[in-house]
Symmetry: C2
Subunit: 380 residues, 2 copies
């Protein structure tokens, strides 16, 4: 087992009716005026918005609203919101939405204190100063509600890059799984795939029996409860189990003692959806992770075989990958780049964009041509 | 799944050589003069003491030492140390040892601000004010390094009672599993049994698939790595896995979504070792938990059967309990009260002492006579 430091300062309030506590959490820390950041308006249809506003009112908190964050959230929108935050003089940021909204809020919080927020992404240094961030999660996937990371797309440069640092842990996050019953099936699947991928980015590093074993239990659980949700989208226990597993997948627990993650597949996906913002992160990962596994299995045959057996009951890595792809197919997820509308002649550019993200392989150190090979394996 | 709030403010520094960072952690928070609390001197033999002192020196921290905390730590010793802390005017407490030392340090930290520390135990209210606590763990068992609880024995009244509250989370805890290779086998077993019991106190509440599944993985891992340590006490990965599982068993993760625990078996054990301080907590739990399972299984037959199958590969609860007892026997642990030197005529008084601890059953609500029945089931 590798050495690790674990410190998760975020207060997580989880369960039915939890949204009512967001105002209390903000008031507890003494913040008076928040910028509420949201997406396209689904939170009004689901009643989440109303619950948030009521909680802020009940706790005498002022707020202004900033709408319009898109999936694969953009730098230009972040810059616009930073300007708004400065103009208003807010003292905290409240994200109400999924990972895109939360990541945007974190970028706003960090960008508030610097000349240009993109410099933080270029510098690749820990973010130590930011406005306090609060979140109300509406889609369990990115794990951003309990971690210090944010991913933003610089659309002009086709760069989907990340920042991180202690100041970016949300102070408090509220997860009410019952509001996720309104999600389209596709988004539930994308969330499950993203969560599985976060665990796998750590799992294949190997190294600590306790963590490997509970990571396997998390992966099995995600598959099982996603199957249950396909049958019964309103199954609360399944929805809550998926939400909780999704948070654990990227809050420091799934990698404790294994290392900080490999992140090659995420880099490949960020290359892909950086160039094609119409592709959802979960779709990209569904296509790319099986290819990465096939390509990198020789780095640690015993561990990859263990994964195939423990998660899929399969006798070989190839069979495990086939089982994963069959499961993805049964959920309606894509399993080839071709299905996502990618042309073979694009692969080289996508490999270069992914290489620029900066994760070049820990489980198996890779060269630029390896990135291209993995994309080819994922093509059709 | 039940609603829950998770907030673990403790910074955990885990791994080989981690003790060198304890002075840095104390300095980071600006504390200048700590009371170091320790047990009988084993930390001098194992080199832990030297590492701690070197780290304090390297970070220019002052300290005074207070030795002599015993297993089943006593109120009288806690009172003595509170007086010393006040006399010296320390601004933090540093526990170097196992659960008894850490729990004593927490009681000192809380008692520092009140007239009489035992009042906190009598009041059963959250402790919101205490000196900052730091820990260097030398025996993974109690989980006290990353939770807000402390158990102390009032030897005059034969009461082994607990306090808890947000102020009792250690600010930082250091766990270097490599120093635990020096532990006598019996203490390793007691630690494993204590950790298993902490998980079971939550698991049998049922209710959330994700948590149930990873709790099962934690239980299986603890059994597996304890077996490995019986063969090879210096196996670092096994030692580290046991340590990490032990921390997770009682830092909020093992019960997330299930509830705050049942704690009947701990109450029974506290009744037992409150009256018989020569009995180790892990020994008492080894004897009592199987009896509690047999007595309470009808409260949720499906879940108890699931436990038997998932942890022991057994076809019935009875077979699961038999497998657990056989495993305990193979580790050299006691499985009857008689072996621990208890007389049958004492059981009634032990049941009454346990009843006074205040946990009367959540999985299965119990009456005083049920406590006696469980002790009888554990007798021989």
């Amino acid at each position: 087992m590798k050495n690790f430091t674990l410190h998760i300062p975020t207060r997580l309030i989880f369960g039915r009716g939890a949204i009512a506590s967001i105002g209390t959490e903000i008031a507890r820390d003494g913040h008076k005026f928040v910028l509420m950041i949201a997406g396209g308006g689904s939170i009004k249809r689901t009643g989440v918005y109303e619950q948030v506003v009521e909680s802020l009112r009940n706790n005498d908190r002022r707020w202004e609203e900033c709408w319009g964050v898109q999936p694969n959230p953009t730098l230009s929108k972040v810059r616009e919101m930073i300007a708004q935050a400065r103009r208003l003089g807010v003292d905290a940021v409240l994200a109400v939405g999924g990972g895109s909204v939360i990541d945007s809020a974190k970028a706003v919080a960090a960008g508030y204190y610097v000349d240009d927020v993109w410099e933080l992404f270029e510098k690749d240094e820990p973010v130590n100063r930011a406005l306090p961030v609060y979140t109300v999660l509406t889609l369990s996937a990115a794990g951003s509600e309990m971690n210090p990371y944010a991913v933003i797309t610089n659309e002009a440069e086709k760069k989907k890059w990340a920042i991180g640092g202690p100041a970016l842990y949300p102070k408090a996050s509220v997860v009410d799984p019952s509001v996720q019953v309104h999600l389209p099936w596709k988004q539930t699947v994308n969330g499950a795939v993203d969560s599985l991928s976060h665990i796998m980015e750590h799992y294949f590093l190997g190294g600590g029996e306790t963590t490997l074993a509970y990571d396997e239990s998390l992966m099995r659980t995600i598959v099982q409860v996603t199957d249950r949700l396909q049958q019964a989208p309103t199954d609360y226990d399944a929805r809550a189990s998926l939400a909780w597993a999704s948070t654990l997948a990227l809050n420091g627990i799934s990698g404790a003692g294994l290392g900080d993650g490999d992140w090659t597949t995420h880099a490949l996906e960020h290359g892909l959806s950086g160039a094609h913002p119409e592709i959802a992160h979960g779709e990209g990962l569904a296509v790319l992770f099986p290819a990465w596994i096939l390509y990198c299995q020789d780095a640690n045959p015993a561990l990859f075989a263990r994964w195939a057996k423990a998660v899929w009951g399969a006798a070989s890595v190839q069979d495990g990958v086939s089982a994963y792809r069959a499961k993805l197919r049964s959920w309606g997820a894509p399993i080839t780049l071709k299905e996502l509308g990618i042309k073979r002649e694009e692969l080289k550019e996508l490999a270069e964009l992914a290489w620029g993200v900066g994760n070049h392989g820990v489980v198996k150190p890779l060269e630029p041509e390896d990135f291209l090979r993995i994309l080819e394996l994922a093509f059709e």
